[in-house]
Structure formats: structure tokens, C-alpha cells
């Protein structure tokens, strides 16, 4: 039923595909091919990577787009019809069943959006390990999707949830993880605690180097899973019948 509801919102479907395209176009038009050098936060060696500003920016804007879209979608899945969903629980559905069904839909959409956003990158440059860049995007969608589920479970009102998502997703994926904007991005003290850290490291390492991304992939799953467990607990608590 969740899928049916989603597919009936044509404008949402169009925007899901239009927004990343516009983000990419914006970055492509406003950046240059000048070479920048930065250190990757998750690489312990004193390794500098030389990449074009445009290529690097496209990775992070893609991640920001995936993160924003999936977290908004997750927020909407949880908050929309919340009182009717509670009536479903009253009629016999378990809260865990409902949120898991929403999660399954979210995972499918995360993979779809991650593949779509990642698939556009070769139009602009040739990533070294293209598939793993897409994996990074999908992981970013997973982590931020779980964040959206958590925010939706905590906040009853839509506006508060939206502001929380916009606040974190923009600051995190769009700014602090990006070495161009945050000069100390190689300093992990702050950024490693943020949701986009592991997914962005997966994508950026895969795009420009041959370094191992195993830790980043595992870190993404662990981070997302922690957010998911918190979301499940809070959602169950809010939906339970007394």
C-alpha cells in the first residue's frame, strides 16, 4: 500500500529525478576544472589527492541530493497519515511491521535514487571505481533515510522535521564533509560523527583513488542501523496501544 501511495504522487516522482539533475547542472555551471589537492579524512597516510574542483563538487552535491531526498521521503513515510496508521495498530497491526514495511520501500527507493544519481556522474567525469561510487551514494541514502525515519518518529509536526533534516543534511553532506568548503575536513574529530561521513568517504575514495573502502562501507551500515534501531524504538513507543 505504501508503494501504491507513492506511485500515485506523480509530482513527487518527477521531483525525485529532477532535483539531482538540477543540482548537478548547477554545480557543473558554477565550478571550474582547476585542480585542488586535499587529504582524505579516513586515510591514515599523509596522502594528498589531486582532483578537479568540478569532479569533487559533483560527488558531494550528489551525496547531498541523495541525503536530502531520502531523508525527506522517510520523514513523509512516517509522518503522513500517522493517526490513521495508529488506527491500523489499534486494529491489530504491530508498529514494527508497519515501520519495517516503510523501511523496505525506502531501501528500494534509496537504491533507485543512488543508482540514478550515481549513473549521471560519467556524463561529467570518469570515476575510478564507478560502481563503488554508486554504493557510496546508496549508503548515503540509507543513512539519511534512517535519519529521516528517526526524525519522523520523534517529531509530530512536519515543519519541525523538515527543518531538522535541512539543517543537518545541508551542513553535513553539503558543507562539512567537503574539503573545498571545510578546510579542516581531513580532521575527523567533528565530521566522523556526522551521518554522511562514511558514505562520503566511500564515494570520494572510490571516485579518485584505489584505497580500500571496507571500513567506510561497514561504518555506513553501522551508523544507519543505529539510527534505524532508535527510530524503531521511538516509533513503537509512540504507536503502542496502552
Amino acid at each position: 500500500m505504501t508503494v501504491k501511495e507513492l506511485l500515485r504522487s506523480r509530482i513527487t516522482l518527477i521531483l525525485l529525478f529532477l532535483i539531482p539533475t538540477l543540482f548537478y547542472a548547477l554545480v557543473a555551471l558554477t565550478t571550474t576544472d582547476r585542480t585542488i589537492a586535499f587529504r582524505l579524512a579516513s586515510i591514515s597516510e599523509e596522502t594528498f589527492v589531486d582532483v578537479s574542483e568540478r569532479s569533487e563538487s559533483l560527488i558531494f552535491i550528489g551525496l547531498a541530493a541523495v541525503g536530502l531526498l531520502t531523508s525527506f521521503l522517510a520523514l513523509n513515510l512516517v509522518q503522513k497519515h500517522s493517526e490513521t496508521t495508529r488506527r491500523l495498530v489499534l486494529c491489530g497491526y504491530q508498529p514494527a511491521e508497519l515501520i519495517v514495511s516503510k523501511l523496505l520501500v525506502l531501501v528500494c527507493i534509496v537504491v533507485l535514487i543512488g543508482c540514478y544519481v550515481g549513473a549521471m556522474l560519467p556524463l561529467f567525469f570518469d570515476p575510478k571505481h564507478f560502481i563503488f561510487v554508486i554504493v557510496g551514494f546508496a549508503l548515503g541514502g540509507f543513512v539519511y533515510g534512517c535519519y529521516g525515519l528517526l526524525v519522523g518518529s520523534i517529531f509530530k509536526r512536519e515543519l519541525e522535521g523538515i527543518l531538522f533534516i535541512v539543517l543537518l543534511a545541508n551542513i553535513d553532506a553539503g558543507w562539512l564533509q567537503n574539503p573545498i568548503f571545510y578546510a579542516e575536513a581531513h580532521n575527523k574529530a567533528i565530521i566522523r560523527h556526522l551521518p554522511a561521513y562514511f558514505p562520503s568517504q566511500t564515494s570520494i575514495i572510490s571516485a579518485f583513488t584505489d584505497y580500500d573502502i571496507g571500513t567506510s562501507i561497514i561504518g555506513s551500515f553501522v551508523y544507519g542501523s543505529l539510527l534505524l534501531v532508535a527510530a524503531l524504538v521511538i516509533y513503537w513507543w509512540r504507536m503502542r496501544i496502552r
Binding site: 501504491k4 491500523l88 489499534l90 486494529c91 491489530g92
Partner: protein
């Protein structure tokens, strides 16, 4: 849930004992006690803001009482809320399907068809709920509460928005349920015909009194 002695003695299938509910400093319900017997139609009336919907939400488990308890018997409960709690982006049929799954029903098509005919909205079965009139939405809202053939019906303003004919059909239907020994609790801020109720209470100043 084990049937307590008081319920057995008085043959109540649903009993409320000294229920109170406060929201911060606001005491909505102070001391509400009543019971419903099998095959009884009970009405609770009161002004807007008297706490009728709050009482119903406590009965069905959506809210916890600050004090007192709700004693229930084993039996299926059907709840029709005051708000239109249906999925607007699904069709009428899909809403029935969703709630039938929640109830754990395997065979519900016949009951669904009966309800669609009874409340005269079969022609809207494949229409999105968002496109229905408010009266038709309310028919669906009520029908969902009846889909699993409950033993006890808790109805909050069930005929709100109904046309006159549907209102009469509703009371014909409740009469049939009464004959089948089903119990019905109806909350309303208006009571058109007191003779339809076996017992009528008024909720005023947080306390329930027999009318």
C-alpha cells in the same frame, strides 16, 4: 483478559471504573464510571469539549487514564473515531484491504460488500478516498470499524455528515446488531431520538450522569 467478578456479577461486557484524565492542569475527566451490557445501545452526550472523545480514546487504548481503570471482556472491539482516519491516497477498496489485513481477516469480501450496500456507497469502491464527499468518507470511516464483525462497537459521532436516509439506515443496522447481542456505545453532541438508546448518559464537568 480475565473477566473480573464485578463484570460477571453485573453482566457488563465493558466496564469503566472511576476513570479520570488530566492534561497538565486541565482535568478533563474527574470520575467516570459506567458499564455496557451485552446487546445494549448506550449513548453519551455532552457539550463540545466535555471530554467525550477523550473518554472513548481511553476505552480503546489510545490514551491512558490518569486514574481508574477500564475493564474489558474478551471480544472484538470496533472503534469509529470522530476524525476521518482513512488513507486518502488509496481507494475505498484498498482501505478495506489494508484494514482487513490489520484485523487478520482472510474472508472479508462478503462483509465489505454488505457494508457498501447498506451504507450505499458501492459506486465509490474504486475511487480514491480524497475524491469522496465528507459524508461518504464518514461512511467508509464507520464501515472500517464494522468490517471484522465486532462484539462491542465504540462510535464517536458516527453519523456526522450522513444524509437523512443513511442516518435511518444506520439505526436499522444498529437494531440488527442489537438483536445479534452486539453492544454499541455511541458518543454524540446531539441526540435526535433518545428512544433509540437503552441507556443515555451526559458527560458534564468531567462526571457522567444518567439522563
Amino acid at each position: 483478559m480475565v473477566m473480573p467478578e464485578s463484570a460477571l456479577k453485573n453482566e457488563y461486557i465493558l466496564e469503566v471504573q472511576h476513570v479520570a484524565k488530566s492534561f497538565g492542569k486541565l482535568n478533563v475527566l474527574k470520575d467516570v464510571s459506567f458499564g455496557i451490557r451485552q446487546g445494549e445501545i448506550v449513548g453519551i452526550v455532552g457539550e463540545n469539549g466535555a471530554g467525550k472523545s477523550t473518554l472513548l480514546k481511553i476505552l480503546v487504548g489510545l490514551l491512558s487514564p490518569t486514574d481508574g481503570e477500564v475493564v474489558t471482556i474478551k471480544g472484538k472491539m470496533g472503534y469509529c473515531p470522530q476524525e476521518l482516519l482513512t488513507f486518502e491516497t488509496l481507494t475505498v477498496r484498498e482501505n478495506f484491504c489494508y484494514f482487513a489485513a490489520a484485523y487478520g481477516l482472510n474472508e472479508w469480501q462478503e462483509t465489505k460488500d454488505d457494508l457498501l450496500d447498506r451504507f450505499r456507497f458501492r459506486q465509490y469502491e474504486d475511487m480514491l478516498v480524497s475524491k469522496l464527499s465528507s459524508g461518504t468518507k464518514q461512511k467508509l470511516n464507520l464501515a472500517i470499524a464494522l468490517l471484522h464483525l465486532p462484539d462491542v462497537l465504540i462510535l464517536d459521532e458516527p453519523y456526522s455528515g450522513f444524509d437523512w436516509e443513511t442516518y435511518l439506515h444506520f439505526w436499522d443496522f444498529t437494531g440488527e446488531l442489537k438483536l445479534k447481542k452486539k453492544s454499541i456505545l455511541i458518543i454524540s453532541h446531539l441526540v435526535y431520538d433518545q428512544s433509540k438508546f437503552d441507556t443515555l448518559f451526559e458527560l458534564k464537568s468531567g462526571v457522567l450522569k444518567c439522563v
